[in-house]
Structure formats: structure tokens, C-alpha cells
Symmetry: C2
DNA sequence: TCGGATTCGTTGATTATTCAACAAAATCAG
DNA sequence: CTGATTTTGTTGAATAATCAACGAATCCGA
């Protein structure tokens, strides 16, 4: 990819997220985004259909990154769930502004829903209904856990990460072990 | 000016100054600058002849800005020397990284010399040889004062601005008043 | 509701930047 | 000193971004 494209997209994204932190989505204009990104307004349209598309693409890009952070490229080295969890928290830490802004902005319930969907998907893949879970209703259990996971992440991010990522990983591990979720990637 | 030009120059300048803070000027390559600036190497050559020209232009640009910070556009509002001094210190504060890097880098004595030249010029313009200065040798006096001014600025910048700009302005004013330098712009 | 202002979406010509490649010069290591 | 590697300076074709402008749509205030 030509580096100009990436530079332009990065600038637009950063400007957009900055504005999202300051005002409602509906009040943001393409003009403002372009000015803050220091690109021509027409350039925004070269990359995005409209600001709704921009929002969608921003969400998509970040959720892909989040997903990648949970799935180490090298699965041959035997990464434990704890290591990938740490990757995830570190990724969230580095992109805290985006996630915090998205979760705080009342105009975007879809974002939180997408996080929930990711958590549900991950949990469904790795929930083990034997042992202590064998008398549970699976759907109830995964809804319970997904809500808890997303809720804690949301709290951690929107409260400016009150504890280090390493601490969060330890706590998560302890909590998830209670439900026999230990080895595979969660989100 | 097309905004692309400014964006490119800003990126190159920032990358260059960052590298200057990490290594000797002679060890810096155009490749490194381009990579860090995230521009094509050829683009560096579109704007600068070589890295020596880049250095010259960086110095020139910043010294022009420094000069402008001492010369308020609106002279009709009766700015006092103290106000323009404050502008100067605020400017230096905002560009501390550049000035600190240049002053610390042993490969660039020219930079400090340029500062001295500016101080000498300003002082020669406004030194008042009557009164307490009447028995002094003018050249000795301006060399003395210029060295003192540049030395203090250098210390303040390279020691991460230990005192607020406002304090520095007060001190400068007190010091310069001892030499009957009060009203006009200094640097 | 109406008129003015603002924003949006688009177009076309121009321009700055990109990329790949080449040869020359400089640097580095044995 | 010599050969390999790196850096420099340059070239040309392609591409992304710029700018100005236009008409349509939307918003805002009287």
C-alpha cells in the first residue's frame, strides 16, 4: 500500500476520534474532520463514503486489531491464555483513547454490541460444559460471562485503567478459572 | 503554500531533530530521516539539497521564529519589553526540544554562534552608552551582556526550564535594568 | 415558511509524493 | 588494499492529494 494512503487514513482516523471525544457523532462535520486532519475535504471522500462509513471503518479496523491481539501469530510456541490476555490488555492500553471514546459516546451503542458479540463468540468456542458447568444452561452461562468480561473491560478503559495490565490479567485468570476457562483465547 | 509541502517539511524536520537528539549529526543518514519521517527518500531531496542544507534550513526557520517572537506584529499597542520577553520565553518553551537538541549537540557550534550574533545585534541596537554606561567600552559591554544572555538561555533550555517563563522574564528585567536596557526588544 | 448560511458530494486540472531503479560515491570489514 | 555493503543523488512514470468550483441538500434563525 502506498504510504500516502495510510498516512491520510491515520490522520483522518485520529482527527475523527479526537472530535468524537468532544462532541456527539451527529454534530461532527466532514469539514471539521478534514481541517483537524489537515487534509483536503475531498480527500476524506476519496477514502470514505460519508462519516457513517468512516465510523464503521474505524470500528472495524480496531476490532480487527483487538482480535489479532488475542490471537498470536505464532501458535507453535505454545502461548498460554495468560500471554494472549496480556497482549490484549496491552493493545487496549495503547489504544485506550479510541476505546474509551467509543464506549463513552452515547451515539454509538453498536460499538459495545460488537464487543459483546466478540466476547460471546470467543466464549462459545471455548466453553467447557463438563465438570462444574455440566448442570448449567450454556447460553445463560456465556451471556453471563460475556457481560462480565465486556463490563470489566469497559470499566477499566473508561476509568483510565486504574490497575496495570498485568494485574488485570491475573484477576481475569483467577475469575475465568472458576468457570473452567483457561487455555484458549477468550475474545 | 500547498499543505502537502508544509506537512512534508514538518515531518522531515521533526524526524531530523529527533535523530539529532540521539546521535551525532555526521552519523545521521538521509535514509534514517526519511524512514522516521515516513516519506520517500527522494522527497527529502525535493526539499533539501542534502542534510547540511536541511540543518541550515532548520536553524534558519527556528531563528526566524525566535526573532518574530521578540517582535510583536502589533507595535501600536505599546508592548513593553517585558511582554515581548515573555513571548520569547513562551516560544522557547514550546520549542524547547529543538533548541535543547541544537545546543547540546557538539557537532553544531554554529547554532550557538548564531544565537550570539542575534543577541549582539539586538544589544548593539539598543544599548544606551550614557549614564551608568558612559565610561564603559561599548564592545566589551555588549559582548559581556550577549554572552550572559545566551548563557542563561542556554542553561535554562538545556536544564529543562527549571523555572517558569514568567520568573525568567522578571529576572531578566531586573538584570537588564542594571545596564539601562529596558524598553526595546532584546533579541 | 422563507431566505441565508453552512455542509455535502462531486468534478477536473494540477501538483506533490511515491516507488523502483540506476550509477556513483562513500563506508566498512577482513 | 580490496571487495562487499551502504548511502547518495538522480530519473521517470504512476498515483494520491490538493485546490477551486459547482449545484444540491440541510440547517438555522427571523
Amino acid at each position: 500500500m502506498d504510504r500516502r494512503i495510510q498516512k491520510t487514513k491515520d490522520a483522518i482516523t485520529e482527527a475523527f476520534v479526537g472530535l468524537m471525544a468532544e462532541k456527539d457523532f451527529e454534530q461532527i462535520t466532514i469539514n471539521e474532520i478534514a481541517d483537524r486532519a489537515n487534509v483536503n475535504r475531498g480527500t476524506v471522500y476519496l477514502h470514505y463514503v460519508d462519516k457513517y462509513d468512516l465510523l464503521d471503518q474505524c470500528i472495524e479496523t480496531h476490532l480487527n486489531q483487538l482480535f489479532q491481539s488475542c490471537s498470536p501469530a505464532e501458535d507453535t510456541t505454545g502461548f498460554s491464555s495468560k500471554t494472549s490476555l496480556l497482549h490484549t490488555f496491552e493493545y487496549l492500553e495503547q489504544n485506550a483513547f479510541f476505546y474509551s471514546t467509543m464506549l463513552k459516546n452515547k451515539g454509538i451503542p453498536a460499538f459495545r454490541n460488537r464487543l459483546m458479540a466478540m466476547a460471546l463468540h470467543g466464549l462459545r468456542e471455548q466453553i467447557d460444559m463438563s465438570g462444574i458447568n455440566q448442570n448449567m444452561n450454556q447460553e445463560v452461562l456465556v451471556q453471563f460471562l460475556a457481560s462480565a468480561v465486556v463490563g470489566v473491560l469497559e470499566w477499566w478503559i473508561t476509568h483510565s485503567m486504574p490497575y496495570p495490565a498485568t494485574d488485570m490479567v491475573e484477576q481475569f485468570k483467577l475469575l475465568l478459572e472458576r468457570f473452567q476457562i483457561v487455555r484458549k483465547e477468550l475474545v
